[in-house]
Symmetry: C2
Subunit: 278 residues, 2 copies
């Protein structure tokens, strides 16, 4: 019987040329498909929810895998992860950790699709805001050593929540889309020690949208832009009006939402942030 | 006038084939010499204190650089670091962080040498001891997911403090040494959240000595070896008797000592740990 499996996947994007399979380079999709094909004994392809760029990480990428396999569903993750785990390590399996792994595998109804059934996604963007840069974190956050005004950034962020045309916040060259209108359910900015954690939940995101939103908000945080400019940037629909594209290493695909309940909870978080900071 | 400069250097060893210059591969020494030669306008070589292996990090490697240069000493670090900083980043210089950088440059007396004047070194070995591995830390610690008995490890560690023949704790193939006798001034093991931080200070270390000491202590922590076996391993002078070589990514060259005072302080720390845990 054909199974329709949903994989939940975590990866460190540092050493991948992004998600999407491409000949001759190491990609997350290609690496996973190769390991899955070995374990399942048949050539398989997977369909990811988000095509993350080179250097972008995922705490919870999702992907669909359809086919007829002998191996029980609950044994797939472990078998694939053993294959993906790095060779460097200590004794036995201790210390063997790969840079991509499957967190869970679930059987879904036939009509389910990791990407098309998704109602929304959440991305995190991590900004290191210490006075000194940290070479050991350079792959995992955007290090901004001048102080950021988080309150000004939150004021600017509120302009983006809701349904807007985000044409000014996309890089050309991505997959062509029918519309550049998107809905952001929540956009919160929280200080965690010397870090700023930006979390944005929306029904979908244009190419580089989270990174351009973040770059623009960083410019607000540095005092180079005013929160009041945000509506004008949206209305311009002009990429030149928005800020710089924040680097990929701070970006994490954090969650994929398949139910209305999850979306409602995301909206609620946004309200909580508003109450917290106003 | 010829200057004798002491460089203090930090690096993430993940993407280097170790410290020592080798043709055709990226090494820390080679990368630094190239950047220094550009900045100083003349081909230079540096002499490091420790030849760290591939994947090993340094918080404070030291290196000697001798020569006659036009550039003021205090401007060398910034000029070299700008050259070494990665290209990925945000606006201007924000977010540009390389994986190696010079922390300081100091002028030393003519007879001083980064390696031969050193009285001792301190290494850190970081063990992640959570139940779950973390893919984002796989380059920066040894992840042991079974619980480690830190008290048993400390009991074993005490056997190594002092002057011993550490022949059982070296990998063959390193630089030939006249003697395998070394003095360990302190060896402490401290829990920091879910991590175990091992710090060892000694007058010198044999090839892979810290990693083999750590691997042996991990086996003690897992209950596979008894602290009482340590003296027998030392006496055997046989590599086969000691434990596995812990992986390179947990190891950090943390300090290099050039004064007796620093050595005395290291010995004191060891006493503090004894009082703390007995």
């Amino acid at each position: 019987m054909e199974r329709n499996l949903l994989l939940k996947i975590e990866y460190d994007g540092s050493e991948f040329f992004g998600w999407q399979r491409q000949p001759g380079v190491r990609t997350v999709q290609g690496t996973l498909e190769e390991a899955l094909s070995c374990v399942l004994g048949t050539q398989v392809q997977i369909q990811g929810t988000s095509r993350t760029d080179a250097g972008v990480h995922a705490l919870a990428q999702h992907a669909s895998l359809c086919g007829t396999f002998g191996i029980p569903t609950e044994r797939i993750a472990q078998a694939v992860n053993n294959r993906l785990a790095g060779k460097s390590g200590g004794i036995g399996k201790i210390g063997r950790v790969g840079d991509v792994r499957i967190l869970s595998v679930n059987e879904m109804p036939t009509a389910f699709h990791a990407r098309f059934s998704s109602l929304g996604k959440r991305y995190r963007y991590l900004i290191g805001n210490s006075r000194e840069t940290d070479i050991f974190r350079r792959r995992y956050c955007y290090q901004v050593t001048e102080p950021l005004d988080a309150e000004a950034m939150r004021a600017a962020a509120r302009c983006f929540v809701g349904t807007h045309d985000f044409a000014a916040f996309q890089t050309s060259g991505g997959t062509p889309r029918q519309t550049t209108v998107r809905t952001i359910y929540s956009l919160t900015i929280n200080r965690q020690g010397d870090d700023l954690l930006l979390e944005v939940t929306g029904d979908g995101f244009l190419y580089n949208m989270v990174r351009i939103l973040t770059g623009t908000l960083v410019e607000v945080g540095l005092g180079r832009r005013n929160p009041g400019e945000m509506n004008g940037i949206l209305e311009s629909c002009d990429r030149q009006e928005a800020g710089h594209t924040a680097p990929p290493q701070g970006l994490y695909l954090a969650e994929v939402f398949y139910t209305e309940d999850e979306i409602r909870r995301a909206q609620q978080e946004n309200e909580n942030q508003k109450q917290d900071t106003m």
